[in-house]
């Protein structure tokens, strides 16, 4: 997507900073969540089932009398942490594999690129549902299911970038000066292809978050007592006419978080202007 909006570079950079700060604040909040929750997120209370928001339970309680606010805060931890983990792992794995393929070519390249073709020839979420469903419900399995296709774009990007870069004179110069291959790739090649990879990572976070929450919603993500937004919405939708806050609170938290990360992704893309990227 090309943005024709005439934004000065400084304005775009400012936007990146704003959303980066917001995203980091959210992540920090998520890390600190266990110390900030007003109540025990897993403590049930038979006297306050489906209680409306009040001073003690700022966002009310669910059908087991658990504090919704505390669970939403703990859910932030699950959602943000798991998505960032999958994106980081996909980034490292995909880039490394793609760079190796681009550098060495040959049989490895052929095999890896065929696997990438196969994985990209299938709707990502459908495969994730099948994989997570077959492996059985757990957060780790949901993360694996999302990661199975997550690395493919990095591998493609890194591979094609390395292949063009290989022919550059400065690489030959570095080689002649006795630089070993591993060091050559890490020090001289990767820094130059970092931009498009970073854009891919930044735009992937929101998608990953929605995906993992979707799996949890379907009951093939996190296992019940653990607080997670998708599974909270799934549990609560059966009685949302009695206690709408049980759905609205995790839903709102999820929407705001995904929006912040999506804005971050968009502004990083505008800044680096990678061009030709498509959100898939």
């Amino acid at each position: 997507m090309k943005h024709k909006k005439k934004l000065s570079r400084a304005a775009v950079r400012r936007r990146v900073w704003i959303f980066l700060v917001l995203a980091i604040a959210l992540a920090a909040f998520a890390v600190a969540a266990p110390y900030l929750t007003p109540n025990d997120p897993n403590a049930t209370n038979s006297e306050f089932m489906k209680a409306a928001p009040c001073a003690h339970f700022p966002l009310g309680t669910d059908k087991l009398g658990r504090c919704v606010l505390s669970r939403v805060m703990m859910g932030a931890r699950t959602s943000i942490f798991s998505s960032l983990c999958v994106v980081a792992a996909s980034f490292v794995f995909g880039t490394a594999l793609g760079a190796l393929c681009g550098w060495y070519g040959g049989a490895l390249d052929e095999i890896v690129m065929r696997v990438v073709d196969i994985l990209l020839a299938f709707p990502q979420m459908v495969l994730a549902i099948a994989v997570a469903g077959v492996l059985g419900g757990s957060l780790l399995n949901a993360m694996i299911a999302m990661g199975i296709t997550g690395w493919t774009l990095y591998a493609r990007l890194a591979r094609s970038a390395v292949m063009t870069m290989k022919k550059e004179p400065y690489i030959a110069a570095a080689k002649l000066s006795g630089c070993r291959t591993g060091r050559l790739i890490i020090r001289h090649v990767l820094p130059n292809i970092f931009g498009p990879l970073l854009v891919n990572a930044a735009t992937q976070i929101g998608t990953m978050m929605i995906g993992i929450a979707g799996l949890s919603f379907l009951g093939i993500g996190v296992t019940p007592p653990q607080a997670e937004w998708g599974s909270m919405i799934n549990e609560a939708r059966a009685y949302m006419q009695l206690a709408p806050w049980t759905v609205l609170a995790p839903g709102g938290a999820m929407l705001i978080t995904v929006m912040i990360f999506n804005y971050l992704g968009d502004s990083v893309r505008d800044l680096l202007d990678a061009g030709g990227q498509n959100d898939g």
């Binding site: 997507m1 196969i118 990502q124 077959v134 929450a213 839903g251």
Partner: protein
């Protein structure tokens, strides 16, 4: 062109083998015994003996590669096996759901395009005015909302608050409305932004300035030239989104109890009904590859300069 189609269909073979092998392998190593599930579903007491007999009957005692091989040879003969749950042929079960899923997907696609095309053009023409900002912000919100959240909110509003629809979708137009809307909202948000970007890019090209300078009406330039020239790009965007729609349909069908293959797949996952899951994955791959092929062909129809590429993406 015929050879291109043939080549594309040949590319389907490694895709299908790779995907089914992956899913089969995962089912093999996954915890949970389908034989025990089947016995429980039939109300038979699960004992060492009955379990062994059931495993033998279902072929689960054989080595992995033999199991996969016999499944594959069945597929080549057009036999997808029978469901563990009710013993019905998998192909028949899938076919029954497929019609509903395609109906849902198609309706969502049409609704998304019908809404986003005018909105995209409008926001591009009114760039950086109030209307543009509002629609862009709304589309950003829509794009950041997961399908399941939209479905639950729509259900709350339409079924519980204003009681316009029954909670369980009937297989009718009325039942189709909410699932379609749930699938369409993120899609139309994304389309609107993409159409806007395409139209803006086209509007910046020299021929538009030339046409304006020659005194052509703005309306004429927009509809006759700009829109026509962006159409091929828009078709590609729509084609690429079908995969997202198919993934979303699993979620939405489950929520609204819409009897499509997505719901069937979720039910089969819960019941560990492996043959149905396998068949589902296979069919999804076929549909997805075929739709991409159609997209490419349509693209070439609209823009004869384009040569069909080799890549199967």
């Amino acid at each position: 062109m015929g050879s291109t189609i043939g080549k594309r269909l040949l590319q389907l073979i490694p895709v299908l083998i790779g995907l089914t092998l992956l899913v089969y392998g995962l089912m093999y190593i996954a915890p949970g015994d389908p034989a025990a599930k089947k016995l429980q579903a039939q109300g038979v007491a699960v004992s060492e003996e009955t379990l062994k007999a059931a495993r033998e009957e279902m072929g689960l005692d054989r080595p992995f590669i033999v199991q996969y091989g016999s499944w594959l040879s069945g597929v080549l003969r057009g036999d997808l096996g029978t469901s563990y749950k009710d013993g019905l042929p998998v192909a028949a079960k899938l076919l029954k759901g497929l019609k509903n899923t395609l109906l849902l997907t198609l309706a969502s696609l049409l609704l998304s395009v019908a809404v986003s095309l005018p909105l995209g053009v409008y926001t591009a023409v009114r760039q950086n005015r109030a209307g543009d900002y509002i629609i862009r912000f709304l589309s950003f919100v829509g794009n950041s909302m997961p399908n399941f959240l939209i479905s639950v909110l729509l259900m709350y509003f339409f079924c519980i608050q204003i009681k316009a629809f029954p909670i369980i979708a009937k297989n009718s137009f009325q039942g189709l409305f909410l699932p379609t809307l749930s699938l369409s909202i993120p899609m139309m948000s994304r389309f609107t932004r993409q159409v806007r970007a395409e139209v803006l890019e086209e509007l910046g090209k020299p021929y538009v300035a030339g046409a304006r300078a020659r005194g052509l009406k703005e309306r004429y330039v927009l509809y006759k030239n700009v829109l026509h020239n962006t159409l091929s790009a828009i078709i590609t965007i729509v084609g690429l989104s079908v995969g997202t729609l198919l993934g979303g349909s699993v979620v939405v069908e489950t929520i609204f109890s819409w009897p499509g293959i997505g719901k069937l797949a979720m039910d089969s996952i819960t019941a560990r009904d492996y043959p149905v899951i396998q068949g589902f994955v296979m069919w999804m791959a076929v549909i997805f590859v075929l739709i991409n092929l159609f997209t490419d062909l349509a693209y070439r129809r609209l823009d004869p300069r384009v040569e069909l590429g080799e890549g199967g993406q």
